[in-house]
Amino acid sequence: MVGAIRRLGTLFVNGIWQLGFITRFFWLILVYSGQSFTRLHLTLRELYFSGVMSLLIILVSGLFVGLVLGLQGYETLQRYGASDSLGTLVALSLVRELGPVVAGLLFASRAGSAVTAEIGLMKVTEQLKAMDMMAVSPIARVVAPRFWGGVISMPLLAALFSAMGVFGGWLIGVVAIGVDDGAFWSQMQSAVDFRYDVLNGVIKSCVFGVAVALIAVFEGYDCVPTAEGVSRAITRTVVSSALAILALDFVMTSFMFRG
């Protein structure tokens, strides 16, 4: 019993320490961001690796999610004779929730894990130490560009995911099933509000971008410099990012869409 309480206490204290470390790390990234942006090619390179290289998985996944939404949505709506509202259902589901959340989860698995692995391996091979001994801050040179690469990519990828999803919904609803084309688009246009729906979705994806990018760079930088340490750090990045995205989504949704 005492042992269990002690372990719980240790876990709690370690959690607080970890939170302190990550907050301080975040602050250092912000401090060094100026230096990082003066060497813009570094950030552009990371934007390419995190953003452009994730395009394929994001677009294909968006398309399939849209196709499924179209099928499921039509099946439900036609029971109530509201199949013309399919466009509204697909668009609202995607821009409010599925776009930011699913794109965030995919981004964490594809780009977040790659960033953690890269920084972790740089630590294992002493590249970060070598940089530090060359009087070059690893946070300015390695961490900040990867952080901003992730933060900028995420909302763009989420927007593309949603756009592809809407296209998938149209493909299955209008082209395959035969829902009226005009009704599909006009109902969507009248029901989706830019500020209330689209902008809130963009805010969500920006927050997820900061969360995933921060977790990815922190886990890489903080990992134990061994093969096993890097592997564990990658797992932690994916798990923590997924949990952070879902928890933050709940909190933000409860503030944004209270009816």
Partner: protein, 291 residues
């Protein structure tokens, strides 16, 4: 090569601020006075005093885990001693703020055990990176300087290769070229001979000596390769159990009758450094089970 390196030095146009200019030339470049260091509860260095004179190549030797690399980290300011003082060019390393420490590190070069080359850059860009980070030299001049450094280590022809395409010895030489990119006053080598074939080992050893003399720098080599070190260094310190166990010139070390030095130089399995890790009575352990 000496001429090329001289040109390199003159071209850099890096003038350290007055506070960082060399202090008295007679004073050692690096001095450790009664240094103590521990990782948490584990004491690594108990009481170390040594000095690296200007222009000399000094080896720090000792068994694995004796704290040799920690000494380099203390000199480079990556770790802070819990007791004693580490001074480099008259500056107390532990007392320096981040900017002052980085200013000092620009005049130091460190070769890591396996090179620590940046794997996402070509050989050329690896050597160019310190110049690009710390100088405003035009690309043409950086190109010339990098080629001179690579020529000095015999790898001008490998400029466009990626680190993954290099052998261990070549990677170490590229890292050496990067280390001397800013013509440092102090060169630190962490196990530079580990895992090299005899030819590469000889090449690296000769490069360390020749570059030190050509640059007018001082060098510290942390190693346990006694035979190679005896050929190229001016002075040797032996570290054991957190203290300087023996010291002397290569000649004095070869002729030493000190049991520790004798065991180390002749690679004897048992001696002052015991073969067996401290344990209880052997017979008791056999009869009584694991203990």
């Amino acid at each position: 090569m000496a001429v090329l390196l001289h040109v390199t030095q003159a071209s850099l146009c890096y003038n350290p601020p007055p506070a960082l200019q060399h202090n008295s030339m007679s004073e050692p470049l690096v001095r450790l006075e009664n240094v103590r260091f521990a990782y948490g509860e584990r004491t690594i260095l108990r009481d170390i005093s040594l000095s690296i004179p200007r222009g000399q190549v000094v080896a720090i030797m000792g068994g694995s885990g004796s704290g040799k690399t920690t000494l380099l980290r203390l000199i480079g300011g990556q770790e802070r001693a819990v007791g004693g003082r580490v001074t480099v060019d008259g500056q107390d390393v532990a007392g320096l703020g981040r900017d002052a420490l980085y200013a000092l590190r620009r005049r130091m070069g460190m070769l890591f055990q396996f090179g620590a080359l940046f794997t996402d850059m070509t050989v050329f860009d690896n050597v160019a990176s310190p110049l690009r980070e710390h100088t405003d030299l035009p690309p043409e001049l950086i190109n010339d300087l990098v080629m001179m450094k690579l020529h000095a280590v015999g790898l001008r022809g490998a400029a466009r290769l990626m680190p993954g395409e290099l052998s261990g010895g070549m990677a170490r030489r590229v890292a050496l070229a990067r280390t001397i990119a800013l013509d440092p006053m102090l060169l630190m080598y962490d196990e530079p001979f580990t895992g090299l074939d005899p030819i590469s080992l000889g090449v690296i050893g000769q490069l360390i000596r020749r570059l030190n003399d050509a640059l007018g720098a001082s060098s510290v080599i942390v190693t346990h390769d006694i035979q190679e070190s005896l050929q190229i260094v001016d002075y040797i310190y032996f570290i054991s159990e957190g203290r300087v166990a023996a010291e002397g010139t290569p000649e004095a070390i070869r002729n030493s009758t000190d049991p520790f030095v004798h065991q180390f130089v002749h690679a004897e399995a048992d001696g002052p450094v015991p073969f067996h890790y401290p344990a209880g009575d052997y017979a008791t352990a056999l009869v009584g089970g694991a203990g």
